[in-house]
């Protein structure tokens, strides 16, 4: 438990605050988020969740539709 606490504190101390005026690189649509297109994200999650045993999580529930696992 102590090890985890130390690890979390070390990790959080490494996260320096990035001011708004230094985020130009992050404003580009190719960087703006991990799944910039929610329809493409659904395409991907539906495809893998109906073909692989490892579905669920990632913000989407497993199950729902097509009677698959």
């Amino acid at each position: 438990m102590k090890r985890w606490l130390v690890l979390i504190l070390l990790a959080s101390s490494g996260c320096a605050v990035v001011p708004q005026n230094r985020r130009a690189a992050l404003a580009d649509p190719i960087m703006s988020s991990f799944d910039e297109d929610s329809l493409e994200a659904h395409k991907k999650s539906k495809f893998y969740s109906t073909r692989e045993a490892a579905a669920g999580g990632d913000g989407e529930p497993a199950g729902g539709g097509c009677g698959c696992q």
Partner: protein, 388 residues
């Protein structure tokens, strides 16, 4: 004279007030002025899937049966803004040709499980409303309905996100509930009535700016499923040479841990890395790694290349020659041990406009999925979107 005028003004004001009190209050007076509705964006994506391969769970042809199918998947998304509320209406449709329970309701009954040539249409409607409580806090509520020939599904979800340290850190949590109602069949196509399935899912995630060009994400999701967790018409080859039904546990606990990293590159590009660890109480352990490389070739145009590799060890009761007395058994190729790979490329154009349409988005892409237990899928996708 002055006193008369004063009296007239007082009587007049009193009369006015009296008249106003008698008038019914308008809805504007009670609720305030209505907040105008404006469409923020509209997007349409179409994907075509072409799948070929074989699996022991399929009765289409000699064992292992065909898993050949095609899917046409149009999706429409409209996002509207209304003051502090943002509404997202999403309608995905799947038209699937392949082995399904579609024709089992008809006559002759077992067609759909012996020939991979029938069609299933599936459609969903999903509405997510997000409330911007303040500059740092968002709350959302979602609800949806899915309809398919032998299948109905309802889903509800709530969640929220709060940002800290000048938006450097965002913590999000969500809770989802899916309830499925499906027809139960024997492996020869006899309908046995209804079956149910419940999926409850909770997620917790942290997104963190790590530098002016780096974003990190860590998320954990837990899904608990209860009820009939298979499609009921999958078969299992038995050691006595016959075919038996699939037997799955009635409970499944699924854990997933996701780490993502996005790094902007100095030559107007970006690289994104994804790692996902998955474990469940059916004995599945899985690792998925994906890398996406973006490169801008102009102010409006970029290319994306992606590669994904997935390994899973399969469920503990997977067998292609199961005992007739086995309490649990499955020969579903999706639950088998395998390694899969996906390789893809996508080109996208974002054209800015100055007037009513602020931005036009177009993209076209291709992906190829292949895995070690005989399944290959080609995916063709294209999208058009407008931001107003």
């Amino acid at each position: 004279m002055r006193a008369r005028w004063a009296l007239a003004v007082v009587v007049g004001l009193f009369a006015c007030n009296q008249a106003r009190a008698d008038e019914p209050l308008s809805s504007d007076a009670i609720f305030g002025k209505p907040v105008p509705f404006s469409i923020e964006s509209a997007r349409l994506r179409f994907t075509h899937y072409d799948q070929e391969g074989h699996g022991f769970q399929s009765q289409a042809g000699p064992s292992p049966g065909l898993e050949q199918l095609t899917v046409e998947q149009p999706q429409l998304e409209v996002v509207a803004k209304q003051g502090k509320f943002t509404h997202r209406l999403w309608v995905p449709v799947d038209v699937i040709t392949g082995a399904s329970a579609d024709a089992i309701d008809g006559w002759p009954p077992p067609d759909a499980i012996t020939e991979a040539s029938h069609t299933t249409e599936a459609a969903s409607i999903d509405l997510t409303t997000t409330y911007q409580r303040d500059a740092r806090t968002q709350l959302f509520f979602r609800g949806g309905f899915h309809i398919e020939n032998p299948f109905r599904s309802w889903n509800l979800g709530v969640g929220g996100a709060r940002s800290f340290a000048d938006d450097n850190t965002v913590i999000a949590a969500s809770l989802n509930q899916v309830f499925d109602w499906l027809d139960r069949f024997t492996i020869t196509g006899v309908r046995l009535g209804r079956a149910e399935r419940s999926s409850t899912n909770g997620n917790l995630s942290v997104t963190q700016l790590l530098s002016p060009s780096t974003v990190g994400y860590l998320g954990y999701g837990l899904t608990v499923q209860l009820g009939t967790l298979g499609n009921t018409w999958n078969v299992v080859p038995l050691s006595d040479g016959t075919l038996g039904d699939e037997r799955l546990p009635g409970v499944r606990h699924r854990h997933s841990l996701v780490a993502r990293l996005a790094q902007a590159l100095p030559w107007r590009g970006a690289v994104k890395g994804f790692y996902r660890f998955y474990a469940d109480n059916w004995g599945v352990l899985a690792h998925s790694i994906e890398v996406q490389l973006y490169q801008r070739l102009g102010p409006w145009f970029y290319l994306r290349a992606n590669y994904r590799v997935h390994y899973q060890n399969g469920v503990a009761f997977f067998s292609t020659r199961a005992s007739p007395d086995a309490e649990l058994r499955s020969a579903d190729s999706d639950l088998a041990p395998f390694t899969s790979q996906t390789i893809g490329i996508l080109g996208a154009v974002d054209v800015p406009f100055a007037r009513r349409i602020q931005n036009l988005h177009l993209d076209v892409g291709y992906e190829r999925y292949f895995r070690t237990n005989d399944l290959r899928v080609s995916m063709y996708t294209c999208a058009v979107g407008f931001r107003f």
